[in-house]
C-alpha cells in the first residue's frame, strides 16, 4: 500500500477532499430542493420536511454501510470515480421523472404524510445511498497510516460537512433565485459526473506513472546486471 502511494500524483489527496466537498454540497443542495419539488403535490407543511430528512438520513446511513463494504475490495480511484458517475446518473430522474412519479403517488395515497414519504423515497433514496458511499470510500483512499486515521477521517468530515453547509445556504439564498429547480439539479448531476471522470483520469495517470516507474526500476535492475 505504501508503495502504491509513493507512486501517486501529488494532487491526489487534495482532489479526493475536493470531491468529498462537492458531494456534501450536492447532497444538501438536492435535499433543500426536495422541499420545492414536493410542494406542488404534498404541500409545504412540516411533515414534508420530516419525510425528506428521514429519507436522506436513512439513505445516507445505508450508503455509509455500502461504501465501507465496497472499499474493502480493490479500492481504487477508478471505482471512486465510478461512484460519482453513478450518483450523477441516479440524480437525473429527480429532474426528468419527478412529475409523473409524484402524480401517481398523489393519486394513490390520500395522506400527504405517507405520500410525501413515498415520493421522497422514490426520488431521493437511490442517489443519496450512492452519495453516502463516498465518505467511507474517501477514508479508505486517504488513510495510509493507522495513527493518522482519526485525523484523516476528521478532516474529511470537516470538508464534506462544510460542503453541505455551503450547499444549503448557496442553494436556498441564491440558486433558487437565479435558476429553475431542474437546472440546478442538472448542474449538480453534471458536476458529480465530471468529478467522477476526473477521478478516473487521475487513476489512469497514476497507473501509467507507476508503470513507467516500475519499468524504470526494471531497466535499472537490468542495467545493473
Amino acid at each position: 500500500m505504501t508503495n502504491e502511494n509513493n507512486n501517486t500524483v501529488a494532487w491526489q489527496n487534495p482532489m479526493i477532499y475536493l470531491l468529498a466537498f462537492s458531494s456534501g454540497f450536492c447532497i444538501m443542495g438536492i435535499e433543500l430542493l426536495g422541499g420545492r419539488i414536493l410542494a406542488p403535490f404534498f404541500g409545504s407543511s412540516v411533515h414534508i420536511w420530516g419525510s425528506i430528512i428521514t429519507v436522506f438520513m436513512l439513505s445516507l446511513s445505508f450508503g455509509y454501510l455500502a461504501g465501507g463494504k465496497l472499499s474493502t475490495k480493490a479500492a481504487s480511484l477508478k471505482r471512486y470515480g465510478l461512484i460519482f458517475i453513478c450518483a450523477g446518473i441516479a440524480v437525473l430522474p429527480v429532474a426528468f421523472s419527478a412529475q409523473s412519479i409524484m402524480e401517481a403517488i398523489f393519486l394513490a395515497i390520500e395522506d400527504t404524510r405517507y405520500g410525501s414519504l413515498l415520493a421522497s423515497m422514490a426520488l431521493f433514496f437511490v442517489p443519496t445511498v450512492i452519495l453516502g458511499m463516498i465518505s467511507p470510500y474517501s477514508v479508505r483512499l486517504l488513510v495510509t497510516d493507522k495513527n493518522k486515521s482519526g485525523q484523516v477521517a476528521g478532516f474529511l468530515y470537516f470538508v464534506s460537512t462544510l460542503g453541505s453547509a455551503l450547499g444549503t445556504i448557496i442553494t436556498s439564498f441564491y440558486l433558487v433565485l437565479w435558476f429553475e429547480v431542474n437546472d440546478i439539479i442538472m448542474a449538480f448531476s453534471t458536476t458529480l459526473m465530471v468529478l467522477g471522470l476526473i477521478a478516473m483520469i487521475f487513476h489512469r495517470v497514476n497507473q501509467s506513472k507507476s508503470c513507467l516507474n516500475s519499468h524504470a526500476i526494471n531497466q535499472q535492475g537490468a542495467a545493473n546486471e
Partner: protein, 305 residues
C-alpha cells in the same frame, strides 16, 4: 451523521428566533395564546376589538379582527375590498376560501348568502379551533372547514371536477408567502375550479420585484384582471375571472344594486368599485417580467428587496 448536525443547528436557531419573538410585549390584553405546528397564535382584545395574530413583532401580522359587539361589521379594508368580486359574479352559490383566519369572512358571507355552501381550507388545525372558540366561526353541513394545504385541496378538487363560483385566496400575510400558491401551475389548477361565472379574488402583499412577477403570472393564466388597491398600504386584491371581465357600465350597475345589501357589513361597494383598475387600461409592471412557476418561485426572496 454530519448531515444530522446541520439539521439540528437549523432547529436550534429557529427556536431561538421564535422565543425572542415571543418575548416582545403585546398590545392589549392577550386572551389566548398557543404555539401550533406552524406558528404562534395569539388572540388579543382591546377596546371591543378582538384580533387574531400570528406573530407579535410587526404590526402587519393581524390576521383577522372582529368587533366583539358587532361581529358582522367588517374591520379590515382588504376584507371589504374582497367584495369587489361580487361585481363580477353577484350570486355565488359555491364559495371556496383558502386561509381561514378567524373565519369572519365565512360568517359574513353566510349572512349575505344563507344558501351558499362555503368550504374553508386552512392548513393549521389550531387556527380552525381558535376561530371556533374565539371568533364564533359558524359551521353546518354546508359551511365546513378542512385542515389541509391549499394547494393539495385545489389539486384534489380539480381531479374530482369540483366547481366554485367564488374562490378567495387569503393565504398570504406580510411575513411569509406560501410559494407554491403563487405559481402559474397553481393558478391554472385554481382556474379549472372556477364555474362559468366564477371569480377568483387573491389578497396579496407583494412589493418590488414580486409585484411584477406575480402580476405577469396572473395575466398569463387569466388574461386581464382587476387590481383593487388601497393607497395607504401595500396589499392589493387581484380579481380574476375565467371569462372576459365585464364592462364598466355593467359593473357600476351591479354596484348600485348591491349597495343596500352590503352596507350593514360596513362595506361601501360604490367606493370599492372606484378602486378597481383593470390591467387592460393600466398595466403597472414591465412587459417582460418572468413568470412564477413550480420550477421558479422564490417569492419570499423577491419580496425582500
Amino acid at each position: 451523521m454530519n448531515k444530522l448536525v446541520t439539521t439540528l443547528l437549523i432547529v436550534i436557531i429557529s427556536n431561538v428566533l421564535i422565543s425572542s419573538a415571543l418575548s416582545t410585549q403585546a398590545m392589549g390584553k392577550t386572551i389566548h395564546s398557543e404555539r401550533s405546528l406552524y406558528r404562534n397564535i395569539l388572540v388579543e382584545e382591546y377596546s371591543g376589538l378582538r384580533c387574531l395574530k400570528f406573530n407579535v413583532r410587526s404590526a402587519k401580522t393581524q390576521q383577522s379582527c372582529m368587533l366583539v359587539d358587532h361581529p358582522q361589521r367588517l374591520v379590515f379594508n382588504y376584507t371589504k375590498m374582497l367584495f369587489s368580486s361580487l361585481l363580477i359574479n353577484p350570486n355565488p352559490e359555491r364559495i371556496l376560501i383558502i386561509g381561514l383566519g378567524g373565519g369572519t369572512m365565512s360568517n359574513v358571507l353566510h349572512q349575505i348568502y344563507p344558501k351558499a355552501s362555503i368550504t374553508n381550507v386552512e392548513i393549521d388545525p389550531a387556527v380552525i379551533k381558535v376561530a371556533r372558540n374565539y371568533f364564533g366561526f359558524f359551521e353546518n353541513e354546508d359551511i365546513t372547514a378542512v385542515a389541509q394545504d391549499g394547494r393539495i385541496f385545489v389539486k384534489r378538487a380539480a381531479i374530482t371536477k369540483q366547481k366554485y363560483d367564488w374562490i378567495i385566496l387569503d393565504a398570504f400575510n406580510g411575513d411569509y408567502i406560501p410559494e407554491h400558491l403563487m405559481t402559474q401551475e397553481f393558478l391554472q389548477e385554481a382556474k379549472s375550479l372556477l364555474s362559468d361565472n366564477g371569480v377568483l379574488a387573491a389578497n396579496t402583499f407583494s412589493v418590488s420585484e414580486l409585484y411584477d412577477y406575480e402580476s405577469a403570472t396572473y395575466k398569463a393564466v387569466f388574461g386581464d384582471f382587476f387590481n383593487v388597491k388601497n393607497n395607504n398600504n401595500n396589499n392589493r386584491i387581484i380579481l380574476a375571472s375565467a371569462k372576459r371581465l365585464p364592462k364598466a357600465d355593467i359593473i357600476a350597475q351591479r354596484a348600485k344594486s348591491l349597495k343596500a345589501k352590503l352596507s350593514p357589513f360596513n362595506v361601501n361597494i360604490i367606493e370599492i368599485n372606484r378602486k378597481m383598475i383593470s390591467t387592460a387600461t393600466v398595466q403597472d409592471w414591465p412587459q417582460a417580467s418572468p413568470l412564477l412557476t413550480d420550477q421558479y418561485s422564490p417569492a419570499n426572496l423577491l419580496n425582500l428587496k
